[in-house]
Subunit: 351 residues, 2 copies
Amino acid sequence: MSFEENIRKVVPYTPGEQPQRKVIKLNTNECPYAPSPKVFNALEKFDASFLRKYPDPACTGLVNAIADYYGRDPEEVFVGVGSDDVLSMCFLTFFAGKKPVIFPNITYSFYEVWADVYRIPYKTIPLKENFDLDENDYFIENGGVVIANPNAPTGVAEPLEKIEKIVKENQDSIVIVDEAYIDFGGETALPLIDKYENIIITRTMSKSRAMAGMRIGYAFGPKKLIKYLNDVKFSVNSYTMNMPALIAGEEAVLDKEYFEEIRDKVVATRERSKTELKRLGFSFRDSMTNFIFAKHEKASAKMIFEKLKENDIYVRYFNKPVINEYLRISIGTDEEMDELFKVLEKILAEI
Amino acid sequence: MSFEENIRKVVPYTPGEQPQRKVIKLNTNECPYAPSPKVFNALEKFDASFLRKYPDPACTGLVNAIADYYGRDPEEVFVGVGSDDVLSMCFLTFFAGKKPVIFPNITYSFYEVWADVYRIPYKTIPLKENFDLDENDYFIENGGVVIANPNAPTGVAEPLEKIEKIVKENQDSIVIVDEAYIDFGGETALPLIDKYENIIITRTMSKSRAMAGMRIGYAFGPKKLIKYLNDVKFSVNSYTMNMPALIAGEEAVLDKEYFEEIRDKVVATRERSKTELKRLGFSFRDSMTNFIFAKHEKASAKMIFEKLKENDIYVRYFNKPVINEYLRISIGTDEEMDELFKVLEKILAEI
């Protein structure tokens, strides 16, 4: 006997590299623009003497701002330390049964990690070869369902009808719809929370709100499910959101105009990038996110990934079955993308 | 069958009230003084445009600062969103066995909540009537041990020899020593991590570093255990600490002079408060923390708690067996404590 037997052993998720040097960083789907000027202003005005006290455990201001913005009841809103924290809490709360939770084989790879750390049985369902999802594959016995829409890393947005069918056919399970990228395209499942009791929708401020460094995620769901989620959250950590996150989050949500401005810029750059990447010999599904998941007709993804890195351009490469010929390229500024295309042109000319 | 069967149902921890009105707040053991001026300065200088990127997942600057300050190796340091997050991760990581985890019946009431949410079997061990701990009670078969030292809400600090005996006699389990209050008195178990493989020590910046609102906790342990803890943490959320927490934490740790100044002030006020509370008819064990856990010779704790609240003075009352005749009074400023004594004098004169 030794204490080793009591230890939960896991293989953790590997996040994209965060190089400390100045590079063109297109590997973690961050926003290339700064957060709202209102965030700057709120943080500048923040009086650090308040820090001696605990923050509001109910996150009232932030929850109300999100509820207002999306026209929901505050009791239908949950907030956490990025959508990773929100999703982790959802796995812990809603997937405590014995049947396997199901999700696509190609999707956010953290789902498997949460299932593993919380000892949740799971089963992955293969996407079609073109990365489309067949909703009929999800009409099987399960202990829960997770669908990222638009999906990562594929960038594919599924029509709302497919999502609704999955929710409708699985009323004995909770269906989590991970909408981390929904602001960049696709149709939100938000209205479904008025029709179904078994849906949770998760979101993040790390991408479209340009606040990855502040760690804010949120979820929508029927009041009853949000209550269950909060009970578990308050059983893990009473105060997850610190004061700067609470005030910055509130400001970021409320600045609709700035949000739309930077989102539109990212979408415009994405559309232009599609043309450029096609010209360079890449193919990809039509991305509705802030990244493009692309495969080259001649050059290997691993080779391009490494050569780009030598040129101080970081993109994401997953050395995994099915997707190891793809690169996930986050949408940067126009200037960053132009530099990417220039370097890609050079690399590809040499093969 | 319904999704209810898949839901983890729990009774969450209830934190002390966080009234939004201006009151004398002596109910959550916060520091009555502001954080270090270096924290103010770092936050003022912080460029919010960095927020668009993810923070450093390894929390390198903060981990190194803590390691330096305490003369440890960075690989012996773990950081989290308050010591609640650190303790929660410890429960999840180190108590995955089948035998019951043991801790005192009167201690931080979150231990039971974490055991419950993670479905960890546990057993509470009664303290002696005077709130002392008998180390011999912990020489039994178990899946882990948790000891808060100094203990909360009793305020009692146990000698290091007792702690060491518990660690030594339990080398097949992990022993967590929760040192949330150690800066105010008592002897740290930190040197034991050089002697034993099975000890984890947790700390917080919420009390002695005056940063409850920033949510920063940390742990020390042998490198191997810190690695296990990080593996689980990276399986839950890659980026738990946001940028403001990382920079503020680093500054707070490094400002030794200011830390010692405010700690000494709290300790001086605590010692004076002991005299005053005795004069008013309260009795208590000699507190080594930033609160006093006191019982009145004539008046009921519940009555005093309620009357104080009517006078806008918040202290903590636990309506639980054994301790329902006690009040936990956090140490405020001298002025706040004087107001407390004045109001107590009035309340007690009326009984």
